[in-house]
Structure formats: structure tokens, C-alpha cells
């Protein structure tokens, strides 16, 4: 059985774990990265346009999967997942999650990943810097994260531009021009630029997204070819995913990556930390000894490890997520237009609603509807079946979707605990649409020629924001064993650091992935300093 020693061990190979590993590699410190690590399929995927492909070919294997993977995700008994995670070749992202980490959830639909690269394998690659305003509830400031954002910009390649959203997302860090907008998105942005003053007075700001998506080739990765394959092909070259960095570091010998390992708990043994592990293939148990432990298993996974390591079946922890609202937007100007088959299928624009002093801004992403399957829209159309298909042909091409994030606070937090049987128990709160927010969004978008209605607004289940955080939060003076200091060292647990979203005490209404990664690098710098002093 596996018995390894390492100076530094990172548990989890998602965005946080990989960012920390990258920083250690910058210091020429070789760390051990452990994960279960299901890999993306290495099939030969198409690179031609999705619609050109499907007009000539049977795409059952691509859009349903040879083992009916997509049908499995749509069954009554399946855990509900966002649409992109239901795509057959993204099956690896959530494979075996309920078996490896059973969850009993009420009013919360958790999504966990044991894949190499974690949930980031299916992200939209929206990568946004936090400002001082976003970090006002944190024991760290924006200045402390600046150089890590810059390092990540260099590694990833961020497309975007300085515009009206600069005060919310920062005005630097673009290493690539923005992607080409779809016709509908271009129309909205033009309308915003004409009515900017009035819309800003109403608290609405619009601009280009900041994306880890290449508009130009970089380091052997091809640029976006506007083929609408984003929902269907994993590890598409132009969308950055952390497993790309993990693979590069592993091939270069800069890290040691061991997969098929499930970490169950840890104990302190003098100067060492012993990880109790189980091999996923054989089921046999073993141990790994390390001097420094970095938890990057996600807010649910890291919390479970912390509770299991203390054999604590009583404490309940806050679990934050960004509640989301989805607004279907209809643009009458585009009724009767053909489906735009050659555009980027994900985020086209961002909007920020910054309405009242003292209230946090809300970030929204305006998404094209061209990448998902057309049949995905059937459930949302209240007409007879054949007439619903008519709507899909003639109405859906004139639509976009606004996904709006709301802040993740204690008021919306779920509670997480561990049962003696080792099952995570999560009790959440129902996600509901706030009437005032819905009215504001409707009012401002109508000025741009986009129509929505409060009855059409969808409040996805709590937990579908996929921005899990807050279970082991940073604090200036940690009081509890489930809080961290400003360097994310777990209180009462020397040399155990938490580098994923668990440490966020609060979630601004903004994608947090980039800040999770930057903070993980900051903590890695601190650990590297400690190691050098030992």
C-alpha cells in the first residue's frame, strides 16, 4: 500500500490546488498533489462547427453519449446538475461523486467533483479580480492579491478590454483582445453605449467579460474558432482549465501528481501530518506523511476532511454559494433571424447592477443560447409539443440568457455537518427571485431592446451557483477550530492550510474563481517562506 513522505502536500487538483502548485513550482519547490483525478476522455473530438457537423452527421455519440450519459443525467433519480454538466463527455467531472462523498441534502443541490481539475473542467472561464470593495469583509486587501492575479494572467491568457466595468473588475491584466461578440450581444452593447448616462444613473453598467478564453493562439493552444462546441467538447484548447497547468507541471517534473487517492482525514504526529488515504482502485488503505498540508478539496470536501479529522459529528458549518437568477431575454429586433451558428457559445457580455450605497453590486453574465442542445429549451416552452418545436426554430434564435449572481451571505447560507456514518448533511434555503431586482433588470434591459418577464425568471436550486465557500473562513482572530487566520492556516492545526473557497467569509456577487486561485498562490508563498525557515 501507498506510503509516501512529502514536504508539502496539496489535496485536490482543482483551480485552487493547481494555483498553489504553480506558485510552489515558481519557487522551484516540488509539492505532492493528491486527488481521485478522473480524467477527461481523450477521444478524437471534432473541431469543425457544431452546426456544420450535425447537418451532415449523426451526432448521437457527441450529444447523447455512447452509453447514454446525457439520458442518465436527465432521469428523475439523477442529481440535478447545470446543463453543461449533463453533456455526455463532461460526465467525468461528476463521476462517482455521490459514491465517494455521499451527501444528504435538503433545499440544496450540491455538485461535487473528483475529476482532475475539479469543477473547473466545466466552468465558463469567467475570471474576475476582486476589488477592495469586494474584499471589505476579508482580513486581506486587494493589493495583497495583485501580483498573483498578474501571474495568473500570464499563465492563462485573459481576453477582455478596459471598459465601463473597469471599476468593478480592474482595468488591467488583459493579455488578449476580447472575443468577437454575437450579433445580439453587439446590438445590446451598442444600445448601452448610446444610453450609457441614463443606465448608469439607474445603476446598470455593461461591458465585455474577462475570460480565460483565447482570442489569439498561446503556448500551443489554438484560439477560439467560434464553433459552438463549448458545451460538448471537454478540454477544448481555447478555454483554459486548470488541468492544463497540472499536466504541464507534472510533465516538467515540477510536481508529483498522484491520482486514484481519496484522502479521508489527517492526524498530527509530532512534526509531521499523517494523511489517512484510500486507494480508489483497490480500496486498500495507506498513509502519506507531510510537513505542510494544503486543503484544496472544495468547500464541501475540505470541510468534510476538517470535521472527519476531529471526529466531529455535531458542529455545523456555514456553506455559502452565490444564489443565481436566470432571465430569458427576447430581442424582438432579431425575431426571424437565423440561428447564429458561428459565435462563442458562452458569456458574451457582463452587466453589473450597482444600485445603492452600502449595498454590494450584482454581477450578471449575458450568455448566448447557441451551444446547448435545442431540445434543452423544450421544458421551458409551455406550448403543445410540435408548437414548442416551432418556438425553438423561430423564437429561440432571438434570445439570450442573463445569469445574475446575488451575494452569498449568512442570510442565504446553508448549514453543513458530518454524520457518524461519514455522510455530509447539508440543509439549505430555497432560492427565490427578489421582486425589486427582477423589476430593475427588466426595466434596464427593456431600454436596450431586450424583453423579459418576471414569470419567466428561473431561480435554480440553491447550490447551482457552484461557488461553494465559507465553511472554514478566514478571520483576523480565529476563535473556532473551523476558522483560519489571514494566511489561511486552520486554527489549532499547525501547518494545515486551506486554499480553496472554504476560506471566503463572504461571497460578493461575482465569479470567485480567480480570487480563489490568487489567494491560493498567496498562501503558497507564505508556506514556501515557512519551509525555507525550517
Amino acid at each position: 500500500m501507498l506510503h509516501i513522505s512529502a514536504e508539502i502536500t496539496i489535496v485536490g487538483s482543482g483551480a485552487a490546488g493547481v494555483a498553489a502548485a504553480l506558485r510552489f513550482a515558481d519557487h522551484r519547490i516540488k509539492c505532492l498533489v493528491l486527488d481521485v483525478g478522473f480524467e477527461a476522455p481523450r477521444n478524437s473530438f471534432p473541431s469543425e462547427n457544431l452546426y456544420a457537423l450535425r447537418s451532415k452527421n449523426d451526432v448521437f455519440w457527441l450529444m447523447v453519449g455512447p452509453n447514454l450519459e446525457r439520458i442518465r443525467k436527465l432521469t428523475k433519480s439523477a442529481n440535478p446538475v447545470p446543463a453543461k454538466l449533463a453533456a455526455p463527455h463532461f460526465d467525468f467531472v461528476t463521476r462517482d461523486a455521490t459514491r465517494l462523498s455521499p451527501v444528504e441534502a435538503h433545499n440544496f443541490a450540491p455538485v461535487q467533483s473528483f475529476a482532475c481539475g475539479g469543477l473547473a473542467n466545466a466552468w465558463g472561464a469567467g475570471l474576475y479580480r476582486y476589488t477592495s470593495r469586494d474584499l471589505s469583509g476579508f482580513p486581506i486587501g486587494a493589493v495583497e492579491l495583485q501580483k498573483y492575479y498578474d501571474r495568473l494572467d500570464e499563465e492563462i491568457g485573459i481576453s477582455g478590454t478596459a471598459d465601463d466595468l473597469a471599476s468593478f473588475f480592474g482595468d488591467g491584466g488583459f493579455t488578449q483582445p476580447p472575443l468577437r461578440l454575437s450579433r445580439k450581444a453587439h446590438y445590446l452593447l451598442e444600445g448601452y453605449e448610446l444610453r450609457r448616462t441614463r443606465l448608469n444613473q439607474l445603476g446598470m453598467f455593461m461591458g465585455r467579460p474577462r475570460l480565460g478564453v483565447l482570442s489569439e493562439p498561446k503556448n500551443g493552444r489554438t484560439a477560439c474558432n467560434y464553433s459552438n462546441l463549448e458545451f460538448w467538447v471537454p478540454r477544448i484548447p481555447w478555454i483554459y482549465v486548470p488541468s492544463m497547468t497540472l499536466e504541464r507541471l507534472s510533465k516538467a517534473g515540477a510536481i508529483t501528481y498522484v491520482n486514484q487517492v481519496l484522502v479521508k482525514s489527517w492526524t498530527h504526529l509530532g512534526d509531521w501530518i499523517e494523511l489517512n488515504i484510500q486507494h480508489c482502485g483497490s480500496g486498500t488503505v495507506g498513509s502519506i506523511r507531510t510537513r505542510f498540508l494544503l486543503l484544496a478539496a472544495g468547500a464541501i470536501g475540505s470541510a468534510k476532511l476538517a470535521l472527519a479529522s476531529r471526529q466531529d459529528y455535531h458542529t455545523s458549518l456555514s456553506l455559502l454559494d452565490n444564489p443565481t437568477l436566470q432571465f430569458p431575454l427576447f430581442l424582438p429586433r432579431f425575431l426571424g433571424s437565423p440561428l447564429e451558428v458561428d459565435c462563442f457559445g458562452l458569456t458574451q457580455l457582463n452587466v453589473v447592477y450597482d444600485v445603492a450605497i452600502g449595498q454590494a453590486p450584482l454581477q450578471g453574465s449575458i450568455l448566448e443560447v447557441t451551444s446547448p442542445a435545442r431540445s434543452e429549451f423544450l421544458s421551458a416552452i409551455p406550448l403543445a409539443a410540435k408548437d414548442s418545436l416551432t418556438c425553438i426554430r423561430y423564437l429561440v434564435p432571438s434570445m439570450l440568457v442573463l445569469q445574475l449572481f446575488l451575494p452569498g451571505t449568512q442570510a442565504t447560507a446553508a448549514r453543513l455537518s458530518l454524520s457518524p456514518a461519514g455522510r455530509v448533511v447539508i440543509s439549505g434555503k430555497e432560492n427565490r427571485a427578489d421582486g425589486e431586482i427582477v423589476a430593475l433588470v427588466g426595466r434596464t434591459l427593456r431600454k436596450l431592446g431586450a424583453i423579459t418577464h418576471r414569470r419567466l425568471v428561473i431561480a435554480p436550486p440553491s447550490g447551482h451557483g457552484l461557488h461553494y465557500a465559507g465553511t472554514l473562513p478566514m478571520a483576523n482572530t480565529p476563535q473556532s477550530f473551523y476558522q483560519c487566520n489571514k494566511y489561511c492556516e486552520l486554527h489549532g492545526q499547525q501547518r494545515v492550510f486551506v486554499v480553496d473557497g472554504s476560506v471566503f467569509p463572504y461571497l460578493p456577487a461575482k465569479n470567485y474563481s480567480y480570487t480563489v486561485m490568487a489567494n491560493a498562490m498567496r498562501v503558497a508563498d507564505h508556506v514556501a517562506n515557512l519551509l525555507q525557515r525550517c
Binding site: F60, I71, G336, L378
Partner: protein, 135 residues
């Protein structure tokens, strides 16, 4: 093929005709039955019997599916119709049902208005067909 005993196979042709006209292509039938084998465990014997009864006796399954969807009854029929759409969309012969090749604003408006009116008549007709749903 699986060794598990299959629950009764639904009226595949009838479900296909809720969405599309004409005979179901053999490839699509075979895929639908594979998918049915996968999902059947999610439905009780009672739900499947209700579906069997409805598909055997109801003259307009599309109208019935519409009213049942609104009232939350015979959920299995709605689920199977959606599954049929997911599978059919992957075939180039069915692309035209999902993506319009001939687009213009007048055509779109007329098609949608016709669709709304057709749905209304289907709904009214469907109200009379609800007796075909057992229980």
C-alpha cells in the same frame, strides 16, 4: 442488452408522433428503447400502466400530453416526449425540426401565431381527453 426484465415498452411510435409526423426511423426507435431500459426503474408499475392505457386509447397524445403537463399528471409521458426530442435532435434527418433553414420575420411571426392558436385548440381538446388518463 441487459438481463433485467424490461417493464412494458411504451408506444414508441405514438410518442414519436407527439413531436413529429410519419414513421419513426428504426435507428431512433432502437435508441429510444435503449434509453427506456435505462430510465424505466424511475417509474412505478402504476405510472407505466397509466401510460400504456393512455397511448392505447387516446386519439391525440399531443393534446393529452399538453393538458397533463399543465396539471402535473402522467409525468412519464412528458418525460418520454422530451427524451424522444433529445435523441431525435442528434440525427441530421431531424435537424430541420430544431433549426429553421428559411428565416424571415413575417414567417416567424405567422408560425408563432399559428403555434399559439394551435396550442389553444389542442388544450381545449385535451381537456376532453383527460378521461384517458387512468385515475
Amino acid at each position: 442488452m441487459s438481463e433485467k426484465p424490461l417493464k412494458p415498452v411504451p408506444n414508441v411510435q405514438g410518442i414519436y408522433n407527439v413531436l413529429f409526423t410519419g414513421p419513426i426511423p428504426p435507428v431512433l426507435r432502437e435508441r429510444f428503447l435503449r434509453a427506456w431500459e435505462l430510465i424505466q426503474q424511475d417509474y412505478s408499475d402504476g405510472e407505466i400502466a397509466a401510460l400504456e392505457h393512455a397511448t392505447a386509447t387516446c386519439p391525440d397524445l399531443e393534446a393529452l400530453e399538453l393538458v397533463c403537463r399543465k396539471s402535473g399528471r402522467l409525468r412519464i409521458l412528458t418525460d418520454l416526449v422530451r427524451m424522444m426530442a433529445v435523441l431525435a435532435e442528434t440525427m441530421p434527418s431531424h435537424t430541420r425540426f430544431f433549426i429553421a433553414s428559411d428565416c424571415s420575420k413575417p414567417k416567424a411571426v405567422l408560425s408563432l401565431v399559428f403555434g399559439f392558436v394551435r396550442t389553444l385548440t389542442k388544450f381545449i381538446f385535451g381537456l376532453f381527453l383527460k378521461r384517458h388518463v387512468a385515475h
